[in-house]
Symmetry: C2
Subunit: 359 residues, 2 copies
């Protein structure tokens, strides 16, 4: 059996975590944007956690499994345990944001091989989780820890809330809606390239920033909550697989098509910085575009909005800009990319585990 | 990135699962014992699942991580993928029952090495989950799948509901309360011994039944829901680590002690069957008692009840009996076991990952 985060486990770690989390859970920072309506009745320390969602709100829940050697690496120069905790939570916060909901609680299941089963490793993972959780007023309310025979695994579960009936799915886009993305695109994939190609010691300021986008992505929590609360979007998704894949999901679920203008895409400016392609050169225009379209893990939000809502969108939320990149068409299931005045069909080219293996 | 159960994944598997689960979720069998008040708004097929918990109910959530080579084995003669799915869900259903709550939804994160990444393996795991889920009216609403570099991992998340303020913790036992356990004790640990000691081909009818208790434990869902709904218990826990450990949790959380009568313990009668100790002999009295006290994974419920509530308890629920095994004392933190008229201190002797490793 695993060691449930029940306070009854054999490890001091769990009791320390329990004391810390349960004392925090009443002091979580509250965002001025919304009033929270769920309250924690029992956090870490029993067979399960208990919370109360008052009426007028729906509950949103997601789980994301990250696996060592597949989703992250822990060797020197790659992710630290703290990075891992941050990213695991970020991925699930992003999913909740992608429903137009506000995150409230998280549970974390962590599997660790015996060789890493020393107090600091687990604590550092939780420190990464905790720092990001506090930033968004999210309480750690449970989870599980277990030994593994090889490799670290983290399953991150985040529970959020949306006003009743206001959760935003991938399925509401209409022809004529405008398509928007938050932030910039391609940075996380470029950061992965940097990690794969060189030792961290040789990083420049620009490549270091890209690596950080890969290891410590920033979920668009405030954007997500705003879009849901004010019903500004018709469809919403987060860019985990890459724009070409994720926009295709929206089109399929909404029964529509899309037309994206390459020159409108907010390609991350750092992709042109020296050190990415060679010591002195950045990526070419084409390479940068490919990363912006197909590179995964940016965890920006992509959403569609009616022409009317589009004109009323804030330009930025918490310093994160939004950019119009195209519009929804009636050409069901087809995503077209316009480059230099010519439209071509854009196929999903995002990250896929097994396709990658086969290459 | 992993392949979220979003319907947008690359694998037919996810789309098939989505169609199947989403069509089931409206036809889940409802128990006559209670009226369900949560409704599923969005199941598998988006960034997250959405449900509505109507007022008057609290939400309970638990996560359990099972790891190949630690919590289960998949070699011939051990767990089938279907057993694994069953057990992963059973463990979390048991946690929800241990809060006096009724399970409603589950999410399942499954990591699978490339060598097992064939359609049937994952499907069979889900079939095990699904069969048990349907039995209890639980809908599969999400999760994640990922490749691993070695070994299968399953994180099972179950969400349940309890009438507001009626969730039962480990912390409510009072001196003078009676202590009860459901079902029988020691079978799962005996089943593990059988698996560790011999080939499945040599199993007798009795040892086969014990192996089944290890591989396919039955969570006490109806007992848990009843105890919570009718407020029959003062404290409640499930026996995952073993009675000696789990009763100690209750005592610590409640600030009480306990006195257990060895002769009252419902030791599983099959432990005396031939084939367990040798071809012709079963376990001795002492060996059977040790398994009943320290053997983990029975997933029976242990609860305390006031003398008044005790006298009104049903003798069984759904064919599962309940047995009084002792009483709560004011001797804070001390669990005493009475054997043959003599009381000795009972120390937690349940399953521990790392203690086991060290031996």
């Amino acid at each position: 059996m695993s060691d449930k985060l029940t306070g009854g486990g054999e490890f001091d770690f769990i009791n320390r975590l329990r004391r810390r989390e349960n004392s925090h859970s009443t002091t979580a920072t509250h965002s001025p944007l919304t009033t929270h309506h769920s309250s924690l009745l029992k956090g870490i320390g029993d067979d399960a956690a208990v919370f109360r969602q008052l009426s007028g709100f729906d509950t949103v829940v997601t789980a994301d499994l990250l696996v060592e050697g597949v989703d992250f690496r822990l060797e020197r120069g790659w992710a630290t345990p703290r990075d891992l905790g941050h990213k695991a939570l970020a991925v699930s916060l992003s999913d909740v944001a992608a429903m137009g909901a506000r995150p409230r609680f998280c549970l974390l299941s962590v599997g660790v091989p015996a060789a890493r089963w020393r107090r600091r490793f687990l604590e550092e993972v939780y420190e990464g989780v905790r720092a990001l959780a506090r930033l968004h007023g999210v309480a750690i309310i449970g989870g599980d820890t277990s030994r593994t025979t090889a490799g670290v695994v983290v399953d991150s579960i985040v529970i959020g809330e949306a006003r009743s009936g206001r959760a935003l799915t991938r399925g509401g886009a209409h022809p004529g809606d405008q398509i928007f993305v938050t932030g910039t695109l391609g940075a996380a994939a470029a950061g992965l390239k940097v990690l794969e190609s060189r030792a961290r010691a040789r990083l420049t300021k620009a490549t270091r920033a890209l690596v950080r986008r890969q290891l410590r992505p920033t979920p668009r929590v405030e954007w997500g909550a705003l879009l849901g609360e004010k019903r500004l979007a018709t469809a919403l998704i987060d860019l985990s697989d890459g724009l070409s894949s994720d926009l295709a999901h929206v089109c399929r679920e909404s029964g529509v098509g899309a037309r994206v203008e390459a020159e409108l895409l907010p390609v991350e400016p750092l992709l042109k910085s020296a050190g990415l392609r060679s010591k002195s050169a950045g990526l070419s225009e084409g390479e940068a575009l490919a990363l912006a379209l197909d590179g995964g893990e940016d965890f920006e939000l992509l959403f569609t909005a009616s022409p009317r809502a589009s004109s009323g969108l804030p330009r930025e939320v918490g310093g994160v800009p939004v950019t119009r990149v195209g519009e929804v068409t009636g050409e069901r299931g087809k995503v077209r990319l316009v480059v230099g005045g010519r439209a071509r069909l854009l196929r999903p080219g995002g990250f896929e585990h097994f396709r990658r293996d086969r290459n």
